[in-house]
């Protein structure tokens, strides 16, 4: 399992070798540092903690700085863990670059989706809403019935209703890597990726490959 942290730069399209247009998301990935290694003996599970994006020291608290100073690392904005089966190939303080991925690799990309606020049922769950005409009043985007009458006498749990939408952790699986640029720390994957521009992304080797 290999992974890296990155930042969404934006979307564009490029031409592949066949001359076809491929929609891509450009990600500024790494360089990351291995800030801590978690072992089953000490922590109960195996993982590497990665740090990304250097910042001014005053942006971090003293405990955060102390944690990084253990491995003589610069102040880093983000720390995220990636579960690995074997930690022996990693060492604390090690630098991880985009070059761990090659063009054609499959990756899973995790990010925080854009918040949509309190969204109705049409936007949030794709309901069709009510008829637009034939004397409808206030029914255009209504959810319709949410259950039967006296029996069961309550609304079932999990009924899809309006509420907060987005701003949640979302993973898109099996995206194809179409471009790796170790010089500029850039990575481009085919398709869209959760979150706004400049949002933090975790890029991992794909768990399920088609």
């Amino acid at each position: 399992m290999k992974g890296i942290l990155g930042k969404k730069v934006g979307m564009t399209q490029i031409f592949d070798e066949k001359g076809e247009v491929v929609p891509v998301t450009v990600i500024e990935a790494g360089p990351c540092f291995v800030t801590q290694i978690k072992t089953p003996e000490r922590d109960g599970y195996a993982a590497v903690q990665l740090g990304f994006e250097e910042v001014k020291p005053k942006r971090l608290t003293q405990p955060q700085l102390g944690h990084l100073r253990k491995n003589q690392l610069p102040p880093l904005r983000y720390l995220r863990e990636i579960r690995v089966s074997d930690v022996s190939q990693y060492e604390e303080g090690q630098k991880i670059r985009v070059s761990i991925f090659d063009v054609g690799d499959r990756v899973d990309v995790t990010g925080i989706s854009k918040g949509k606020g309190f969204a109705g049922v049409v936007k949030r769950h794709g309901f069709r809403g009510g008829p637009k005409t034939h004397g409808q009043s206030d029914r255009h985007r209504a959810p319709g019935s949410i259950g039967a009458g006296t029996t069961p006498g309550r609304v079932y749990k999990g009924m899809r209703m309006a509420g907060r939408m987005g701003n949640a952790r979302v993973t898109v699986q099996n995206l194809q890597v179409v471009l790796v640029d170790p010089e500029r720390n850039l990575l481009a994957v085919k398709g869209a990726v959760p979150g706004a521009r400049n949002g933090l992304l975790i890029i991992r080797e794909a768990r399920k490959t088609r």
């Binding site: 934006g10 490029i14 001359g19 640029d181």
Partner: protein, 121 residues
């Protein structure tokens, strides 16, 4: 950040595409892939509009096909599938988008030719 984007969208102008303007009559040589065979198809017509946008820049060509049916095709300016574009004629137009050609047919859809075409001829 915008610079990072640009480095991905490197635009290399196609040397076989001259500068195009709305109203130009052009022949577009386009490579077409059919299964595992490739051939070049020619599309001749009037440039109706040019749309900028870096690597996504495109242009639309309108031609009158059989039975007076108008056919419009949009080509990606930077597509490697465009073999070459020939400009046959340049016309005097006063608009950037020649959508008004859609409502016209026959003689009404003619454009006045621009005889003198500066140094980029």
């Amino acid at each position: 950040m915008a610079d990072l984007m640009k480095s991905v969208e490197r635009v290399k102008p196609n040397p076989n595409i001259p500068e195009l303007r709305p109203g130009d009559t052009v022949r577009v040589h386009n490579r077409i892939v059919e299964g595992d065979r490739e051939r070049v198809q020619v599309f001749q017509g009037t440039v109706m509009r040019l749309r900028k946008g870096g690597i996504n820049a495109n242009f639309t060509v309108r031609r009158i096909a059989a039975h007076g049916i108008g056919v419009e095709r949009t080509f990606l300016l930077h597509s490697p599938r465009i073999e070459k574009v020939e400009v046959l004629r340049r016309a005097h137009v006063r608009r950037a988008q020649l959508y008004y050609l859609r409502g016209r047919r026959g003689k009404a859809a003619r454009l006045r030719e621009k005889r003198y075409v500066g140094e980029n001829q």
